[in-house]
């Protein structure tokens, strides 16, 4: 009897252990532990007298798409190269997918994928040959099946026998994504993945990156495209040699700009403005032509109350929208704040 109870207990424990992997359960987010697949601590890299990256610390969780923004020469590529184990930090360290750098670059490379700034293929070889070559350096993968899987996933299967030299830049970039993924890495480093692509090709690449994050892969995305970073990334790191900010796009906005709701009305009357002016809920109020621009303490919670107040005061609402400051403004403020002023 006791043995049966023990067996049942063991069975229950085993079931609870595997439960998080059941798809519907996992999709709801239950059982998921936040596991950092990128943990960088005080990374610094100097080239002679020049400091390319200074004291950079950041983390990225499993399944997170983390954006890396910064002006040219800010150290984005150097950061990626350090995290990908291609160059060693001058000081500091990182743990990527469980492998410490400096020191474990060999096993690390089995678990990361890198999309470099230029696609970098052998133009005289076919797409399939190129992928088979790069995939051939990884252990324990079914070469042919994996190459076919990613050529199909990126819409290149029909052109698999064509020489890469005949490919457009967008096709080469998709092939480079396939190369970065062919060994199913846990962490993916993407350096300017949509640079120089036409809007359609860029959108295809973005859609694919979005799906990667959804599939539980950690993506470290360096880009100059702020809209792209906002679309794809849960959090954004802004660097200029050192880390200037690391947060969600919304929190970054809140750091520099007030949260405002713009209510467009058929006409703005005194009755409406009086009804809406209700401190401390409304922190600030201004009239901008046919719009009431209201700064709220908690916009998500207070927006219905605001709308109700406008309607009760006889206001006829045409549109209600959050007055979102472009991420570009946040970025420029961060960079501007970091720029040393002329004496």
């Amino acid at each position: 009897m006791a043995s049966a109870r023990q067996d049942a207990t063991r069975g229950l424990i085993a079931f609870l252990r595997v439960l998080p992997s059941f798809t519907p359960y996992a999709r709801l987010g239950f059982g998921r532990q936040e596991v950092s697949l990128i943990e960088a601590r005080n990374l610094t890299r100097k080239f002679g007298q020049l400091t390319a990256v200074e004291d950079l610390s950041l983390d990225a969780d499993e399944g997170e798409v983390l954006g890396l923004l910064g002006p040219n020469g800010a150290g984005k590529t150097t950061t990626i190269r350090m995290l990908a184990g291609i160059i060693a930090p001058t000081s500091g360290s990182a743990v990527i997918a469980g492998h410490r750098i400096p020191g474990e670059a060999g096993p690390l490379h089995e678990n990361i994928g890198l999309l470099t700034e230029s696609p970098g293929f052998y133009d005289r070889l076919s797409a399939q040959r190129n992928l088979l070559y790069f995939a051939g350096f990884f252990s324990n993968i079914d070469l042919t099946a994996q190459v076919e899987k990613y050529l199909r996933a990126l819409g290149l299967w029909e052109r698999r026998d064509s020489r890469v030299g005949t490919f457009s830049k967008g096709m080469k970039q998709r092939l480079a994504l396939a190369r970065a993924l062919v060994h199913e890495p846990k962490v993916l480093f993407l350096d300017e993945p949509t640079a120089g692509l036409d809007p359609e090709a860029a959108q295809q690449v973005r859609d694919f990156i979005r799906r990667l994050g959804g599939a539980g892969r950690t993506v470290f995305l360096s880009t100059h495209n702020l809209a792209e970073a906002e679309q794809l990334c849960r959090r954004i790191a802004v660097i200029r040699t050192r880390l200037l900010a690391l947060d969600t796009p919304r929190n970054l906005r809140d750091r520099f700009f007030r949260r405002e709701v713009a209510v467009r009305l058929q006409s703005v009357t005194d009755a409406v403005t009086q009804a809406v002016r209700n401190p401390p809920v409304v922190r600030n109020l201004r009239v901008d032509a046919d719009r009431l621009v209201v700064e709220l303490a908690e916009p998500e919670r207070q927006r219905p109350e605001l709308v109700q107040a406008v309607v009760d005061a006889g206001g006829r609402i045409l549109e209600v929208a959050e007055n979102r400051q472009p991420l570009e403004d946040v970025y420029l403020k961060l960079i501007h704040e970091d720029t040393p002023r002329e004496p």
Binding site: G85, I86, I87, G106, G113, L114, F121, Y122, F137, A176
Partner: protein, 270 residues
Amino acid sequence: MSRKRIRNILLKEWRVLFTDVGNTLIVTVLPFFIVGQLLLYVWLAVNFGGEKALGADVFQNAIARLTQAQPAVATLSSVEQFQALLLNQFAFFMLLIPVMISINTVTFSIVEEKLSGSLEALLATPVRTWELLMGKALAGAIPALLVTWLCAGAFLLAVVALGWGHLVRLVANPVWFISLLVLNPAVTVLSFLLGVIGSARARDAKNAQNLVVAIILPLLGVVAIQVTGVVWFTPLTMLALAAGLVVVDYLALKVAVRLFQRESIVVNWR
């Protein structure tokens, strides 16, 4: 795993190399063309060189050294002695073939990788420095040595075909075999390593191939010295020369391995 990776690199190098017509011709046709051309010069020299050339002091000195090394030469006519002297220089000319093929292959390979940006993508894979170097070295060395040995065989067949068969034993001597089997591989390795060093700094393949001059000139110097009889290479001096080359190979290998570290490729290569 290493063997699999090296094989992967080797096959890719050949696929890329042999889809380029210029490179294919350099590896497969040009060496045989050079051998044929040199044999033609020997035939012309022997048949139309005239008594003046045969009697020149510079050749007489060399023929005396040849006779000293191979007494059977004394039994030949003066024209045949002259032939034997010229044919004996082929062991050194054969050194030019692996130099040419190795340097062409390695500079083409590395400079192409630099220009296309494929090398950085490769550095993010688990490939090791020595595997990459070995794969690229074998990709140049295997065709270089095979073609050299085929050219050597073709040369001996041509000597027989030209009616000089009785001279074969004087040409295919220990010096010839040491040159083919020891000196040629050592020179092939050196050419590859110098090609790597040059390619790391060069912006294009032509620029890197200028290094060929640095290797070919001393080799031609060796040939020129022997034909005058001032220096004569015996099996012992050939082995000493090979040993010296192995030391140079080792030093060049150390430089090449340092240059081929991931860090160096990304930071120092231009």
